[in-house]
């Protein structure tokens, strides 16, 4: 049994931040970081633990964001119910994509490609259909009441984002401690061997993509409530799919805090770049890309793996060889 107390410690530390500082800049930075951490935690479950590298997590994020936005704007549904509905539709999309892909045995690069294609199809459809507001996008009405999932200050948003992240951490830890989690890791390491041992790889992968989609979907709903605007390029754009995989990989895919840790690193890097270069378009993304290449090249287990390797240095002349040409 892996312990739960590290989650409690990290969340408690983060929860006191609004009492220390009331700065909107700091809180805004932390909220967007937690948002990316949540999106990435969804990816981490499927990609990090299950080894299925999705390049189209935007499909879940966008579907959930549109669901809550459309329900509120067109049908006057309560935003909290929108959050619930968004998670449902997001995970439904995940399940459908999962059934289609895993039924036909798509693995590795093929899986990455087809998830990307699904996200693109949804992007194109949502940029022309009237219900999503087509090219104009959907604007959620300003209604600053807690019942409407909107708040005067940023602190409640921050705590809600933190609560969602905490929940996702607990879910992932529970999976880590379960038989299902062990199956998932077995599939990542060697799918054929796992299958030969009697693991129903199809249903394990399907469950993983559904839960993964649900976590990312929650982030999509939160995004819609926080920014109150959504359009096709935001909801289904490649940026969210890239952030979703970048954060956990930087943090060390397949570990509990990978996404949260990675989100902090890439967001801090992005902000630092903006600070140094002014508002130059693209430069922060250049840094992201370089970080991704550097992490994959130099520290395939992410920063978490790098730290473990460094901590072993005094006892061993060379850090344990990375899982490479296996």
């Amino acid at each position: 049994m892996k312990p739960y107390w590290p989650i409690a410690v990290v969340v408690a530390l983060l929860a006191v931040v609004p009492f220390v500082t009331g700065s909107n800049v700091v809180l805004n930075f932390l909220i967007t970081t937690l948002l990316i951490a949540l999106v990435g935690q969804g990816w981490n479950l499927l990609g990090g633990y299950g080894g299925q590298y999705s390049f189209g997590h935007a499909a879940f994020f966008g579907t959930a964001a549109y669901t809550t936005a459309i329900l509120q704007v067109q049908y006057g549904v309560n935003a909290w119910f929108g959050l619930f509905a968004g998670i449902c539709t997001g995970s439904l999309v995940g399940a459908v994509i999962g059934v289609l892909c895993f039924r036909s045995g798509l693995r590795g690069s093929y899986f990455s490609l087809i998830t990307l294609a699904f996200a693109e199809v949804l992007r194109i459809i949502s940029s022309v259909t009237p219900i999503t507001g087509a090219g104009v996008g959907t604007l959620i009405k300003l209604d600053l009441r807690a019942e409407a999932f909107q708040f005067q200050s940023r602190a409640p948003f921050y705590w809600i984002a933190l609560a969602l992240v905490a929940l996702s951490l607990v879910i992932v830890r529970m999976i880590e401690n379960s038989r299902f989690g062990a199956y998932l890791v077995a599939i990542r390491e060697n799918e054929d061997a796992a299958s030969a041992l009697g693991i129903n790889t199809f249903s394990v992968k399907l469950a993983a993509i559904t839960i993964s989609a649900a976590i990312t979907a929650a982030a999509g709903c939160f995004y819609a409530q926080y920014f109150l605007f959504i359009d096709a390029a935001i909801a289904y754009g490649p940026w969210i799919s890239i952030d979703a995989l970048l954060a956990p990989i930087v943090g060390g895919a397949g570990t509990l805090f990978a996404s949260l840790f990675g989100a902090f690193v890439i967001k801090a890097l992005g902000e630092a770049t903006k600070l140094l270069t002014g508002d130059a378009p693209g430069l922060d993304r250049v840094i992201y890309g370089l970080v991704l290449i550097a992490i994959v090249g130099l520290a395939p287990r992410g920063i978490a793996g790098l730290l473990t390797a460094l901590s072993r240095l005094p006892f061993r002349a060379i850090a344990r060889p990375e899982r490479g040409n296996a």
Partner: protein, 290 residues
Amino acid sequence: MLSPVILVPAVLNGLMAGAVYALVALGLTLIYGVLHIINFAHGALLTAAMFAAFFAFTLLGLDPYLAAFLLAPLFFACGYALQRFIIGPAAHGEDRNFLLVTLGLAVVIENTLLYFFRADTRTINLPYAFDVVAIGPAFIAVPRIIAFGAVIAVATALWIVMRWTDTGKAIRAVAKEKLGAELCGISVAHIYAMTFGLGTACVAVAACLLIPTYYVNPTAGEAFVLIAFTIVVLGGMGSIAGAMIGGLCVGVVESFSSIFLGESLGQIGIFIMFIAVLLARPSGLFGARS
């Protein structure tokens, strides 16, 4: 709606557009066939080549079709260096890492272009860009006919290189049996880089053929990536002939779906085809390998 006056130009235009798609896909399929990796940086490299062709014209006054002879070797060298010194070493021989490294590379290239040239869309004006030739009831733009011919020439040249030169033989050997080739004294790292270079050179030629009739901005190449992936999947990963036929098919499908569905929804035809082919026959219509 289905009169020959509409159908014939649609088919011909589709074939012409498809030829350029085929060239982009050719580079991709070559890299996949040998390295067994999906190169996500392909579209970004295409964008970079389009910018290079654009500036060769505006700054040096070089006609894009002549620039192809300069850019192809230049991008061959770029591709060689990228694979040899960045992608190869960083990927540690794992498929997933190749995906991530080339994805990172794509992000870097695209955003570097965005940083330097902003999101402005640029076009060039060639005196003959709007000349047309009448073929039956259809009027086909001259640049498209040149592009079609050039693609056939490049594909033939590539086929000759693969068939009869020592490098080509080595590439095929590595594609078939990596370890065996290495034992025969072939440097796999070198052949990988050569292949990546050839694939990138294809993209450079495609960019020169596109720029007279297309526009360039930092995301211009993106539109071609998924199309190229579709063609590669359709034609069977790693098959040169498959890429050519697949490219022409996709061109015609796109041309028809934009007639029936309109310009923005027209792209969906390609993606749906892509998803359908992947789900139904991942080895492609012409692919032998499963």
